[in-house]
């Protein structure tokens, strides 16, 4: 009554044969990377999965042999700017393999980065469309950064090199501008990053900050998918405080940048954003100072010019007066010269002086016997009055 039976290995050998006969080629398969574990031996073990509406509908073990793994990983990451890891959707070329010991698995020997890029672009496009439809893109744009932002909350990983750069650049500025800077720690990469950043964002907006900064500040350039997260984008959009992102990736923009009030590339640029606001105020003050100084200098110059003009006018006017005085003087001199008594005497007249030596203009003061002096042009004589005759009208000596 012995039943016919197969040894397990025989059965599985048949299965293997059947499977490998059924799938003799290599096939391109679209799947999500479930788990992902590169091993010390150089091989990479992973799971390929597929879900529908959040529920897994397919799952299989897969591996990339060590002779393929490094090139394949580098190629993918270079092309996509994305880390090859769990959670991303890939298009891989597989060979179906069956092992009597380990069951079914897929050997991956090629990957198509363009597909992942496309998938992500599509997912991103969809997210942007959804955000646009919800009016989330403009929300932060309606908030205005204060003229002098002073109270700043920084969401970042404390250990991020960029945070140190930012802090130093901002607080040790040469001009001596002051800021209040508070750190809110969050995970800045990986699956947990969006939730962690959202929670920090909610915490920070409880306080009256002038701005909330999301600073990635280093880490792998590969691991930026979290900044395309829809929920994070919404949290940034509805934040009542202006959010500035510094995720630092030249290749592409991120949805977080798109919804933020503004975004910059580097921690230094982030610090400059605030320092520049203060420097602009300083420049404004310098400009006002220059305006006042210039106006005063111009006023003083104008006054100096006025004084110069006045002095010149005065010199001119005074000069005229002196000339006139000199002319008058010359005239008087001529007059005096022309009335010099000696000139008259030389014409035959004589000058008569009385007993007291005073010039006589008539006979009236004289009496007989008075001594008088008679002055000629060339000399004088003394005489005595012998007779006085007075003309009725005028006296003449």
């Amino acid at each position: 009554m012995a039943k016919e039976y197969w040894a397990l290995s025989e059965l599985l050998a048949r299965v293997k044969e059947g499977v490998e006969d059924a799938f003799p080629d290599r096939y391109w398969v679209k799947a999500e990377i479930g788990s992902w574990s590169p091993r010390a031996n150089g091989h990479c073990y992973l799971n390929l999965t597929e879900s529908e509406k959040g529920k897994p509908v397919a799952d299989i073990r897969a591996m990339i042999w060590k002779w393929n793994y490094p090139q394949l990983k580098d190629f993918f990451e270079q092309e996509t700017g994305q880390k090859l890891q769990a959670g991303i959707t890939v298009l891989v070329r597989v060979q179906v393999h069956f092992s009597e010991m380990f069951g079914m698995s897929l050997f991956i020997d090629d990957i198509d980065p363009a597909f992942t890029v496309g998938e992500q672009a599509l997912a991103k496009k969809k997210a942007i469309e959804k955000l646009t439809a919800g009016g989330y893109l403009e929300m932060q744009q309606e908030l205005v950064l204060p003229r002098l932002p002073y109270r700043l909350a920084v969401i970042t990983s404390k250990t991020a090199a960029g945070y140190g750069d930012f802090r130093r650049h901002l607080l040790e500025n040469e001009a001596g501008y002051a800021f209040q800077l508070d750190l809110y720690e969050a995970l800045m990469q990986g699956d947990q990053a969006p939730a962690s950043i959202i929670s920090a964002l909610l915490e920070a907006q409880e306080r009256p900050y002038d701005a909330i900064l999301i600073l990635r500040g280093g880490g792998s350039e590969m691991d930026l998918a979290c900044f395309d997260d829809y929920d994070l984008a919404v949290a940034i959009a509805i934040c009542p405080v202006p959010v500035v992102t510094a995720i630092g990736h030249d290749r592409d923009f991120h949805i977080a940048d798109l919804v933020a009030n503004r975004y910059v590339k580097t921690p230094t640029a982030l610090a400059d954003l605030f320092l520049d606001a203060y420097a602009a105020e300083d420049a404004l003050l310098d400009g006002l100072e220059t305006r006042v100084r210039r106006a005063v200098a111009e006023r003083l110059n104008a006054m100096a010019r006025k004084v110069d003009a006045l002095a010149q006018r005065l010199r001119f006017t005074a000069g005229g007066r002196i000339d006139r005085e000199l002319a008058a003087l010359a005239l008087k001199e001529a007059l005096i010269k022309s009335s010099d008594p000696r000139k008259i005497l030389s014409m035959g007249y004589a000058l008569v002086t009385g007993p007291e030596g005073k010039v006589l203009k008539g006979v009236a003061p004289l009496a007989v016997g008075d001594r008088i002096g008679v002055r000629f042009a060339d000399g004088a004589v003394k005489a005595t009055v012998e007779d006085v005759e007075s003309d009725a009208r005028s006296g003449r000596a």
């Binding site: 003229r147 002098l148 002073y150 109270r151 001009a175 001596g176 501008y177 002051a178 209040q180 508070d182 915490e203 409880e206 306080r207 009256p208 900050y209 203060y278 105020e281 300083d282 404004l284 003050l285 006002l288 100072e289 305006r291 006042v292 106006a295 005063v296 006023r299 006054m303």
Partner: protein, 63 residues
């Protein structure tokens, strides 16, 4: 704190008005002296304000 009472925007506005007044030829020379003194005081206060530590807001305690 004294800085809290200082209204920076108002001070800058006053400085702008002073500059306009000083530039106005109709302003008397006697007034200009007072305006310059006032503008110097305002400039000093504004520059100090940009570099001053304002009253802190206290961060939430992280539980």
């Amino acid at each position: 704190m004294q800085e809290e009472k200082f209204d920076y925007a108002k001070a800058v506005k006053e400085l702008e008005e002073i500059a306009a007044k000083v530039e106005d030829p109709a302003t008397k020379l006697d007034d200009i002296d007072a305006l310059v003194t006032r503008s110097n005081a305002l400039l000093k206060a504004c520059r100090a304000y940009l570099r001053s530590v304002k009253e802190r807001i206290d961060k939430l305690e992280v539980e």
